[in-house]
Amino acid sequence: MEEKTKYSNPYLMGFLLGLLIVFTIYLNGNGVGASGAFKNVVVGTMNGIAPESSSQLQYIKEFNASHTESPWKGWLVFEVIGVVIGGFISGLVSNRLKFKFDKGKNVTSKVRLITALIGGMLFGIGSQFGRGCTSGAGLDGMAVFSVAGFLVTMMIFGTGFALAPLFKKLWL
């Protein structure tokens, strides 16, 4: 518990985050997001490396049909570049910049890398089904009162709660 004053007040952060989402919705009709940018980068990379075979893939066909510009120019790509810069500056200011493995005390670095990779992959896959991740589908969805936003948020956190006892060793 000695760490608890390191971070900013959660209500203030939440309030400002909510205002940021409203501002973004006011500007472009969408809120902030993350997984969409990953998708742009993946599709952009695939188009770049193997344009012919990737254009044969159904999902990429649908992506290209609904995006007129290059995936690299999607606004979400620039937004997540901003996230990385913002996170870095914040870490710098609050003296948190450090290369390290963030893991539970009973876990080896190797296990942590494998679980991070698997967790990331699951999030990558799930965010496609959910048409967005915790921010783009969950938070923005709730901001505009969408049923899908509330449902996906409940499913993400509900599953986390339900499975938490199974993965206790990873974190506690």
Partner: protein, 397 residues
């Protein structure tokens, strides 16, 4: 009125700045630490709950307020589509990923930015996961595109107003903050991550109660106007400028280009016969550019008509409330039915009219109704051009 840039690609510098603020807020909230993130699942740290829920209710109140004051068009913003099983499957897979991986995509970028090496691997995993999904898509296309239910909103599902839902969720959020504080103290031997003092919390709570209460009296501007519009007495005593069928007929013969028409009848009636080059529109369309661009053209007077004059009169009042210049709008007296009866299908009455003016009118109608019918027939709308949806593109899928 927002959204200002409904096309998905807008100012990229602005995108960078928005992302920057997003990153700072996530990092300052502590979301660059996976132990803080998964704390919610083990009950020792509910920071995620506090930040996430506060952001959600702030944004909901914001969206409601902006749409109430007509600053945001609730019909033009992106509402995540509801593919029931896809959303459920996605949520479960993501929840699984969360408890195993310790981050979500946004927070992993944040953690990666301050040097968390496991977050780098997580970021790579997300990209890899999307790659796998793209390759395997044909196998799951049925789930992905199946059970589509449109873009339902939660207050409609619960059959309550947007304002009432906002009231309930804001109050619920604050009760839950109190509740999670108790849970935290139980887990952490009396300590909690509640960083706000008791008196501070009650102050915030008091403000939230006021905001929640005000929300009860708010509704999207458009919805408020349409509800008024649908009431029986709407526009009853309003003073509407009418134009008679005969005057319209004269002006059509004179080829008067300053007149244009909006036809409120059903599309099938409209395509049968309508006044020249009329725009077929519904009352709701008056909120959209297809009507506003039409009416706001310079040097044009718009004549609104339905089958009779009743609906057109109400729409004229609605138009004025939306903000159209009332001097640019007229209502056809008696509607299209009277125009048909008095002009197109005019038959000279057997008895002699008792005044000179009426007699002249009759003679005019008798003489020119064939010509006017021709004008209408020649300008007959062939098909209705459906308006392009202006809803914002995108989302985060």
């Amino acid at each position: 009125m927002g959204p200002l840039f409904p096309e998905a690609n807008f100012n990229l510098v602005l995108a960078l700045i928005i992302g920057f603020i997003f990153g700072v807020l996530l990092e300052q909230a502590g979301f660059s630490s996976n132990k803080k993130l998964v704390g919610i699942f083990y009950g020792y740290d509910f920071t995620v709950w506090r930040v996430f829920f506060t952001a959600a209710i702030t944004a909901m109140v914001g969206v409601l307020t902006l749409s109430h004051f007509n600053l945001l068009d609730i019909n033009a913003i992106y509402i995540s589509p509801m593919y029931l099983w896809s959303v459920i499957a996605g949520g479960i897979i993501m929840g699984f990923g969360f408890i195993v991986g310790g981050y979500c995509p946004g927070t992993s970028l944040c953690a990666a930015s301050i040097g968390k090496l496991d977050a780098w691997v997580f970021v790579l995993g997300v990209a890899l996961g999307i790659f796998v999904f793209i390759l395997g898509y044909p196998m799951v296309e049925g789930i992905y595109l199946g059970s589509f239910m449109g873009t339902p909103q939660i207050f409609d599902l619960l059959n309550i107003s947007m304002g009432l839902f906002t009231f309930i969720i804001v109050i619920f959020a604050f009760l839950s903050y109190w509740g999670v504080g108790i849970l935290e103290r139980k887990k952490n031997k009396g300590e909690s991550y509640e960083l706000t003092s008791k008196s501070g919390f009650f102050k915030i709570f008091a403000v939230a109660v006021v905001v929640a209460f005000l929300s009860l009296f708010m509704a999207p501007h458009k919805q408020t106007l349409l509800a008024e519009f649908n009431s029986v007495d709407f526009g009853k005593d309003a003073n509407i400028n009418l134009i008679s069928s005969d005057e319209v007929a004269v002006r059509l013969l004179k080829n008067d280009n300053s007149l244009q028409f909006i036809d409120l009848r059903l599309p099938n009636e409209f395509t049968k016969l309508a006044l020249p080059y009329a725009l077929n529109a519904t009352p709701e369309d008056f909120f959209l550019p297809r009507v506003s661009d039409f009416i706001n053209q310079k040097q044009k007077i718009t004549i609104i008509y339905g089958s009779d004059e009743k609906l057109a009169k109400k729409v004229a009042v609605l138009a004025e409330k939306i903000g159209y210049n009332p001097n640019k709008i007229l209502v056809l007296k008696g509607g299209f039915d009277e125009f048909m009866k008095d002009i197109i299908n005019f038959e000279m009455p057997k008895e002699q009219p008792n005044s000179k003016i009426v007699q002249t009118t009759y003679l005019f109608r008798h003489e020119y109704n064939g010509r006017i019918k021709e004008i209408l027939e020649n300008s007959k709308p062939k098909q209705i051009v459906l308006p392009k949806s202006k809803r914002a593109l995108g989302g985060c899928g």
